[in-house]
C-alpha cells in the first residue's frame, strides 16, 4: 500500500534520512524504531508532506505522493499525529474534531454553504463517533488546552481519524504514558486494525512496539539497519548494539 523508495532528506549538511526503502502492506501495523536522531520523525514528516524530500519516491496506493503537501496527502488517505500534540488549544474538543472533518467522503455530503455553516448531518455523526472512540463524549465542550495529558493524546488520535484515513502515521503516541495507558492504547490500535486501517508507528516504548507490530524496521543515522518480525529484530546483533541494548532487560518484553 505504501512504498518508500530511496527516500533521502538533507537539512543543510545533515543527512536525516538516507536512501530509505520501506514497504507497508495493507492492514499491517509496521513500527519504525531507532535511537533519537535516527530519522524516524523526519520520515513521517516526509510521508505526510510537511517538507519536500531531497530525493526518492513515496507511492501510496499506486499514486506518487512524494511532493504532495499535507492537505493533499490527507485527501489521498494518509493522516498523522504529532509527537508533541498539536491540538487547537483554544477550541473545544468538539470543535477540534469538527474542524478536521475534511475526508473526501464527508466533503461530498456537504455542499459549499453547508461546509462553512453548520456542517452536514453526516459530519456531525462522524464527530460523535470519534468522540465515542476517544471516550471524550462528556468533555465535548471543554477547551482542548484544559484536558489532561492522556485525554489530549486520545483527542489527537481521534482527530486524525476524522479524515477517514486508510493509513495512519503515529509519531510516538505512547510517549509519557504509564503502563495502564499503554495497554489502553494497544487496545485502541488493535480496534483500528480490525477496522482495516493500516498503521505506521514511530515509537520508543518497546512494550507497545513488540506487542502490536506485525513488522519492525530499525533506523540508525537515517539508514535502515534491520527489518523483520519482532522476534527477528530483537535477536538481531546490529540492532542490539545500536539501540535495544545487549543485556537481557525487561524493556523488550511485550505487553501481555
Amino acid at each position: 500500500m505504501l512504498e518508500i523508495q530511496a527516500l533521502t532528506k538533507n537539512f543543510g549538511g545533515v543527512v536525516a534520512v538516507d536512501t530509505l526503502d520501506l514497504t507497508v502492506e495493507e492492514g499491517e501495523i509496521v513500527a519504525l524504531i531507532g535511537p533519537n536522531g535516527s530519522g524516524k520523525s523526519t520520515t513521517v514528516n516526509l510521508i505526510a508532506g510537511i517538507f519536500p524530500a531531497t530525493s526518492g519516491k513515496v507511492t501510496f496506493k499506486g499514486r506518487d505522493v512524494t511532493d504532495a503537501p499535507p492537505h493533499r496527502t490527507l485527501e489521498c488517505g494518509i493522516a498523522r499525529t504529532f509527537q508533541n500534540i498539536r491540538l487547537f488549544n483554544e477550541l473545544s474538543v468538539w470543535q477540534n474534531l469538527w474542524v478536521a472533518q475534511n475526508a473526501p467522503d464527508t466533503r461530498k455530503s456537504q455542499n459549499f454553504l453547508k461546509r462553512w455553516m453548520s456542517g452536514s448531518a453526516a459530519a456531525r455523526r462522524s464527530v460523535e463517533e470519534e468522540l465515542a472512540f476517544a471516550n471524550l463524549a462528556d468533555k465535548r465542550d471543554e477547551l482542548a488546552g484544559n484536558l489532561a495529558f492522556g485525554e489530549q493524546r486520545r483527542l489527537e488520535l481521534a482527530r486524525s481519524l476524522a479524515a477517514k484515513p486508510s493509513l495512519l502515521l503515529l509519531d510516538e503516541p505512547a510517549a509519557g504514558m504509564n503502563l495502564e495507558e499503554v495497554k489502553a492504547l494497544d487496545g485502541r490500535l488493535r480496534t483500528l486494525q480490525e477496522r482495516g486501517i493500516t498503521i505506521l508507528l514511530v515509537e520508543h516504548v518497546m512494550g507497545l512496539v513488540m506487542g502490536i507490530a506485525d513488522r519492525i524496521a530499525v533506523l540508525n543515522f537515517g539508514r535502515k539497519i534491520a527489518e523483520g518480525t519482532p522476534a527477528e529484530v530483537q535477536a538481531d546483533k546490529l540492532v542490539r548494539e545500536a539501540y535495544l541494548g545487549t543485556t537481557d532487560s525487561s524493556t523488550s518484553q511485550a505487553v501481555p
Binding site: 503537501p69 493522516a79 498539536r86 487547537f88 470543535q95 478536521a100 479524515a163
Partner: protein
C-alpha cells in the same frame, strides 16, 4: 444632541472597520490593509452616488464587493508570507492604494459644476445624504443599523464551522493543514470577507463626512483598525465595539478638554491597557466577578440617563452644572463620566474600601516588579499571607 449623533456615526463606522480587521486577525495574520479597503469602498461608492446618481444601498454593496475583489487578488500573493512580512506587505498595499487615489482624477459635469475626485484635493461632493433630506438622526440610525448587521454577520461566522476553522488556522496552521484544511483558500477567503466589510464601512464613511481625501486613509487609520479588535479581544465581536467606544468615545471625545495632550494620554492608555489586559477587554470582562459587572453596567446606565436628561430637559440642568464648573474648562459631559466613577465606587461603601486597599498593594507590586527588572530578587522579606 448633534454631538451624540455624530459620535454614534463615528462609532458605527469605526466598529465596522474594527470588525473587518477582526476577521482577518482570527487567522493569525496582522493586516494593515484595512484602511486601503476602506478607501476603495469610500471612493467607489462616492463616485456611484455623486456621479451616477445611485441609491445608497446598492452603492454600499458595490463598494464592498469591489474591495473584496481587490482583496482576493492581492490576497493570493500576499498570504503566501506570514507574520511580519505580511504586515509589511499590507502596509505597502495600503500606501499604494493611498498613492493611487492621490493621483486619481475623474470628473463629470453635473449641471453647472464638475463633480468627482481630483487627485490630492480629494473628493468633495459626496452629498447624497444632505441632498436627499436625511437628518443627522436618520444618518445615525442608518449607520448603526448597518453596523448591527455586520456585527450579527461576524457573530454568526464566529459560531459556525467557518469560524472554528479560522481560529484553528490562526492558532496552529501546520496542524490545521495536517487535518486537511486548505490554508490558502481559508486565508484568502477571510481576507476577502474583511475587504468586503471594510469596503462597506468606507462607503458609510465617505457619505457621512461628504468629503474624503487620500490622507484620511493612511497608516494611522490602519493602526486604529487593528487596535480595536486587539484591545477589545479576539473572541467576541462585542469586544471590538467596546474598544471602539473606549477609544473613540472616551479618549477622543470625552477627553477633549485635555486639548493637545489628548493624543499623549491616548498612547499612554493604550500601553496601560495592553499591560493590564493583554488578551483584550473581553477576557478581562469574563474574569470580572458579578460584583464588578453590576457596577460597570449600573454606572453606564446612570451616565446615559444623566446625559439624556441633560439633552431632553434642555439647557437648564446643563447651564446649572456648567455654572458650577465655572472657568475650569470642563463640560457637562465630562461630569457625567465623573459621576460614573463615583456611582461605581459608592454603590456600596465596600467598593471604596477595596480601592483604598488596592492602591498601596498595587504600588508595592509595582515597586517589586521594578526592583526585579533591575536584576534583584524581589523575595527579600517574607510576605504577610492575606
Amino acid at each position: 444632541m448633534q454631538f451624540w449623533y455624530g459620535l454614534a456615526q463615528l462609532v458605527g463606522v469605526h466598529t465596522i472597520l474594527g470588525l473587518s480587521a477582526y476577521v482577518i486577525l482570527q487567522t493569525g495574520q496582522v493586516s494593515m490593509a484595512q484602511a486601503g479597503f476602506l478607501a476603495i469602498g469610500a471612493y467607489v461608492s462616492g463616485m456611484l452616488t455623486a456621479m451616477s446618481g445611485w441609491h445608497i444601498v446598492p452603492a454600499l454593496l458595490v463598494g464592498g464587493v469591489t474591495a473584496a475583489v481587490i482583496a482576493t487578488i492581492v490576497g493570493f500573493p500576499a498570504l503566501r508570507v506570514k507574520g511580519l512580512m505580511f504586515v509589511v506587505a499590507t502596509i505597502a498595499f495600503g500606501e499604494a492604494v493611498r498613492l493611487f487615489w492621490f493621483n486619481f482624477t475623474f470628473q463629470v459635469k453635473q449641471g453647472a459644476e464638475m463633480v468627482g475626485p481630483i487627485g490630492g484635493e480629494g473628493f468633495k461632493q459626496i452629498r447624497y445624504f444632505p441632498a436627499n433630506g436625511w437628518t443627522d438622526l436618520d444618518r445615525a440610525i442608518f449607520i448603526l443599523a448597518v453596523m448591527a448587521i455586520v456585527m450579527a454577520g461576524v457573530w454568526w461566522l464566529d459560531r459556525s464551522r467557518a469560524g472554528a476553522v479560522l481560529r484553528a488556522v490562526g492558532e496552529d496552521d501546520l496542524a490545521a493543514q495536517s487535518v486537511g484544511v486548505n490554508l490558502t483558500a481559508i486565508k484568502v477567503t477571510a481576507f476577502a470577507i474583511s475587504g468586503f466589510i471594510a469596503g462597506v464601512g468606507g462607503a458609510l464613511y465617505s457619505h457621512y463626512t461628504t468629503h474624503i481625501e487620500h490622507l484620511n486613509f493612511g497608516v494611522v487609520l490602519a493602526t486604529f483598525a487593528i487596535a480595536y479588535p486587539i484591545v477589545g479581544g479576539l473572541h467576541n465581536v462585542f469586544g471590538t465595539l467596546a474598544a471602539v467606544i473606549f477609544i473613540q468615545g472616551f479618549l477622543v471625545e470625552g477627553l477633549r478638554f485635555l486639548g493637545d495632550w489628548r493624543n499623549l494620554l491616548f498612547g499612554f492608555l493604550i500601553v496601560v491597557a495592553m499591560n493590564v489586559s493583554p488578551r483584550g477587554f473581553v477576557s478581562v470582562y469574563r474574569e470580572l466577578s458579578t460584583y464588578w459587572r453590576r457596577r460597570v453596567y449600573g454606572g453606564a446606565i446612570f451616565v446615559i440617563v444623566l446625559i439624556l436628561a441633560g439633552e431632553i430637559m434642555g439647557g437648564e440642568i446643563v447651564a446649572f452644572v456648567e455654572g458650577l464648573l465655572g472657568d475650569t474648562g470642563l463640560e457637562y459631559n465630562h461630569m457625567a463620566w465623573v459621576a460614573f466613577l463615583v456611582v461605581m465606587a459608592a454603590w456600596s461603601w465596600r467598593g471604596l474600601a477595596s480601592l483604598t486597599r488596592m492602591i498601596p498593594a498595587g504600588l508595592r507590586r509595582l515597586a517589586a516588579v521594578f526592583r526585579q527588572s533591575l536584576g534583584y530578587s524581589a523575595a527579600r522579606r517574607p510576605r504577610k499571607v492575606a
